[in-house]
Amino acid sequence: MTLQATTYLIVGLSFALYIGIAIWARAGSTKEFYVAGGSVHPVLNGMATGADWMSAASFISMAGLISNMGYGGSLFLMGWTGGYVLLAMLLAPYLRKFGKFTVPQFFGTRYYSKAASGTAVACLLMASTTYIIGQMTGVGVAFSRFLGVSSSTGIYIGMAIVFMYAVFGGMKGITYTQVAQYCVLILAYTVPAIFISLHLTGNPIPQLGLGSDLVNSNVALLHKLDLIVQDLGFGKYTTSVPGSTLNMFVYTVSLMIGTAGLPHVIVRFFTVPKVKDARSSAGWALVFIAILYTTAPAVAAMAKMNLLKTVNPTIMAENSDLFAPDAQLVHADRPAWMSRWEVTGLLKFEDKNGDGRIQYYNDKSKNEAFQAKAAAAGWKGSELTVNADIIVLANPEIALLPNWVIALVAAGGLAAALSTAAGLLLAISSAISHDLLKEMFMPDLSEKAELLAGKIAMAFAIVVAGYLGLNPPGFAAGTVALAFGLAASSIFPALMMGIFSKTMNKQGAIAGMLAGIGVTMFYVFAHKGIFFVKGTEFLGVIGGANSFFGITPEAFGAIGACFNFAVAFAVKNMTPAVPQDIANMVEQVRIPRGAKAVDGAH
């Protein structure tokens, strides 16, 4: 069977599975629609959270980013997992005890005001919408690359599939579909990694392979990789930090608290039966996430090794001379996977010095001795451009794995993109139908009408997300970082204060959220333009790029969160104290006993 036919078969089977599950798990009540009936087993919930959490970016792009950044890429690994420790201890059990459907509902009750829940809805919609644009573009890219259709057609197919299982199944359908999607995506991620690790180091477990010696030698893989990249003028793989250590530190904080503040992750902990389950479910979620996240750095380093070995066939030999005239790969002799990816434009070769060989090195190196050697060898710039996304997608081809593995990676990438899109759409639609419509404007809405409104809101959200995916506002890459910044600077601090401070009042919470999200957006827009419109940057106003201690806009959410806390406590001290019944309620939330089934209808 051809690769194309195998891909269609495996992807088609996986879709049939998702839709079958959605039909089996139809939601009949608002409780099933919003929180899957509140009876999901913690292990299953952990798996669903894993699929919900791991997006197209985690699956396709993360290993490539780490591969390019080396040690500095660890900030994604630690940042996107460390937030679960915070979630498990600081938020999940208390929100579960609180027993509502949505995050804004918590704000509305704890801060006893519709303004607070309205502010939370606004922050939630901003964070989720920016996040979903990236997901929808990811869906389009994944479909077009794997199924050979145009990116727009890919987005239409993706919209239709998500529509089918999210609109009919609600949280219940999404939860069980995500469990299936998790199984598909983790299999797709680990199978090629195991083969590659076995091939390079003889150890089938990638996490251990990364720390092992290369096959038939006493040299550790990482040590060899460090030597080679330095020989090619790059920074040492195991130590290079992009930007400053301070920025890496702050960036990691932002990703951690952003993770803990993203509404589509938080709502997953409303679906388990008990407070106790909310704690362990966060642990299970991290177990399932960590299986992929600990494999990723191995994939990253091994793929880099394989790529460099392909381009410079002699590097594994002792005392190989990288600058020798015949040391580099002749372009005409390149392996089949390289020519296949050249067609997509994700891999580009440009013969700058006209010798027909591929020179791939750091032509921006500041090492003068290296630059002199490169010039002496007649190199006129690096000739190979490799898109970070290739690392995961082309891995099975680089390692010469069979067609079914390549097709499995396609199904895995699609599962990752679709599951995250569905989770975000549910967070958006419940904010609209429940928090805006039912709580603020039409309190008399019957359950049946609310369920219908939820489904219409979901359909509407899918159309908007599809439109934005088709016409991305030209900043797809920046959106994910911004979504984390927004969640980190607005939602996380307000949730924390709601649980851990009995005295935080509504004025403080609202002012804090507005200050946090405001200052973060101000800093980001200064760098990337107002609402990312090109030409409207105002770096001059804030004193140049990364003017705040060299902190990059992607990392600024943590600073926004500090503003949030500071403003909230300052305003609290100037405004009336919190009512006694609210203080009593906070005390009750801190105790597990008496947690009832989630009841959003009061």
Partner: protein, 85 residues
Amino acid sequence: MVQHDEAAYWKATLALIRNVLIVWFVVSYGFGILLAPMLNNIQLGGYPLGFWFANQGSMYIFVILIFVYAKLMGNIDQKFNVHEE
């Protein structure tokens, strides 16, 4: 439950959270970032130790931390008799 117990329960909870957060901070921000250059002089198999913490170790420890927290928190719930029926 009398008022006094409630305060003691919350105090025990916060103490546990503080301890877990200390470990959380030390393995990621401490060993993974701030002290990584120093730890890289030590080898763990084929891994420089600081790089290992940033790339692998901190994540394993995060997982263990959550389950240890869940277990100890369950014990505190039992001790103060506030667990769910």
